[in-house]
Symmetry: D2
Subunit: 203 residues, 4 copies
């Protein structure tokens, strides 16, 4: 079983990412259950905006798209800016949406029988706004959203330390990363054993 | 199997409700699969705002709460006002949240192994905003959100006819009510056969 | 000059309100500039849901509506529940919207030449989501939104102390209540001196 | 007086843009009042994600930033994708935010005494969600938001014609573009005559 982390930090992997640090907490639990994980730092890639599978001009989305299709579990990680998800996570959402018309061999949307979650880090406020937007979009294109499929850290109102500086021991966040990881695994396994019947949802 | 519709129209059942008319489309598909359905018009009840199971003072939420617990499928219906879900749907969300600390006999949140969806009607704009908010909240307290768990109708920008006047034959909306109904049934059945394991999510 | 605070806490005034405590900080600055202030605890009133000026059946909105019309400055205060504004603030928004078709003697929407702001308190996350929703709605019905017209306090992710327990000395929040109060006053005075011309916005 | 339109369509100016067509309606009214207008198609530029004034590596934001500072009126135009504003509008928001710490000669945020609005086009739903997000962010960094500072067009629920194909004669949208244009002009003029006093908002 494979889990793909799309880290939509605005920073390339040459810089440390708080979102990456929180994704690591989820990775720990996934690995306990022998789920293979891979993290992609979106800022490392040249991804064109647009609503096509391949926008051309050196667009590197197609190689990420292949990994999305190969993974049973997708987790989008985003920092918070001005109380909302990052521009790169919005870009990823749009490119995922571009494939929402593709179907599996049963005629269901290509994202059916896959599960998704969200990881959010911010200095102070906006985690649920960001997660709400990402999970709703993922549900809309075909992902299953298990209960408690997100985890986040934000600090007190105002400028202040980041997750890596201050939040790594936060009990609430720790508990949620574990709950999220296990629920994603549970549902990915359930959908392997009992794939979603096609009645009502296949063309 | 039982499905409960909480219709959060601002109007009591003495008035026609567009949201009710769209819920009827979902009901049709649920009944094809022998799911028992019940619609509650929230505006008919005296429900106190607050974050307790029973707010006292003639609060009628407790009787609705019992029905929520008895149903495998919960669908919240809301009209759109100023581009967002109704105050009554926000009230219902808060009262559902008040029981999020209650657990089943396995120690999981009381809403685990249940599935949820949303039905939205509006004159012109705001359906996805309303649905996004409701589905995220329901996921947060323990509901499973299947893919394509919502359906809505809105008309063209500006004042204009309502769902009952203009939208009942909209193909996109019809297709979504069917997809939503079947996915709710598929997942409710799946969770009966394979309940969510407790690892990671039980106290 | 009058400022009206509509405190949309779920609790009646027999209970302490964190939102009220943060409104007091704004009140302090308004009083320095001789602005008359009044706080209404929405939970103390019987307000019917609906989109009419007076819903009948003992509806107490009409008396609040008069106070809204008499005040140059309106501040809506809301707690955060599940990352969003309260049901009572949504109710207030709907009832304010019900008068959006009324006009002043120049034919402009009744809320023109008035300014609005928002005060939000929560345990951990959702302040900007709540404020964003309230300020957008107020702008939509005719209020002017000065820069930095909101202030909020939320604590670190997870359950924890409230504004009154932990946030009253937060520098960021203090600075924002002052900035908000002064910008509301500046714009209320500006609109007295230079009312919005009617070109383009009057019937 | 200058108005800058930042068109955040995902398409470069080699393609027609519905958002551009709706911006033209606003332009018409601005020109009646001798406001100079310029539209920038964000997709034509190489803009790096990040929270700095100049991200280096050929980043073309700095030249847009100069135009933002030179204009009294800023209008962000965005299409709707999956019920929300575009990734490019989120990118623009982040880059504008990167200058929110800069101040004018009085010590106020650099965006003070400027006014902002939003133009949204979509096939079916999400205009107010997109506008709400953009206007809130612009208010947060220092822009004044006049009443009715947005206009949009969306069609009926589901796939269907675009603004250029079906919406150009929509009366509601037409009325809103006029109201928006005039209110932006009125407030830009008011702020020229009576700039925002510094009390409470300057460092």
């Amino acid at each position: 079983m494979k889990a793909l982390f799309l880290n939509c930090s605005l920073k390339a992997s040459s810089d440390e990412s708080n979102t990456s640090a929180l994704l690591d907490k989820v990775r720990y639990w996934l690995q306990q259950e022998h789920v293979e994980t891979e993290e992609i730092r979106i800022a490392d890639y040249h991804i064109e905006p647009g609503i096509s599978r391949d926008m051309g001009g050196g667009d590197e989305w197609p190689q990420i798209r292949e990994k999305v299709f190969a993974a049973e579990i997708l987790i989008i990680g985003s920092p918070v800016w001005l109380g909302e998800k990052s521009s790169l996570s919005t870009l990823v959402k749009e490119r995922l949406y571009a494939s929402s018309g593709e179907t599996n061999h049963k005629g269901q949307a290509i994202y059916y029988n896959k599960v998704a979650g969200a990881i959010i880090t911010g200095n102070e406020d906006g985690a649920k706004d960001a997660s709400k937007s990402l999970l709703y979009s993922l549900h809309n294109i075909g992902y299953t959203i298990p209960p408690n499929a997100d985890a986040y850290w934000v600090g007190e109102a105002g400028p202040g330390p980041s997750y890596m500086e201050a939040g790594k021991e936060n009990e609430f966040t720790q508990k949620n990363t574990k709950m999220m990881a296990y629920n994603l695994i549970h549902f990915a396994r359930m959908l392997k054993e009992l794939p979603i019947p096609t009645k009502g949802n296949a063309e």
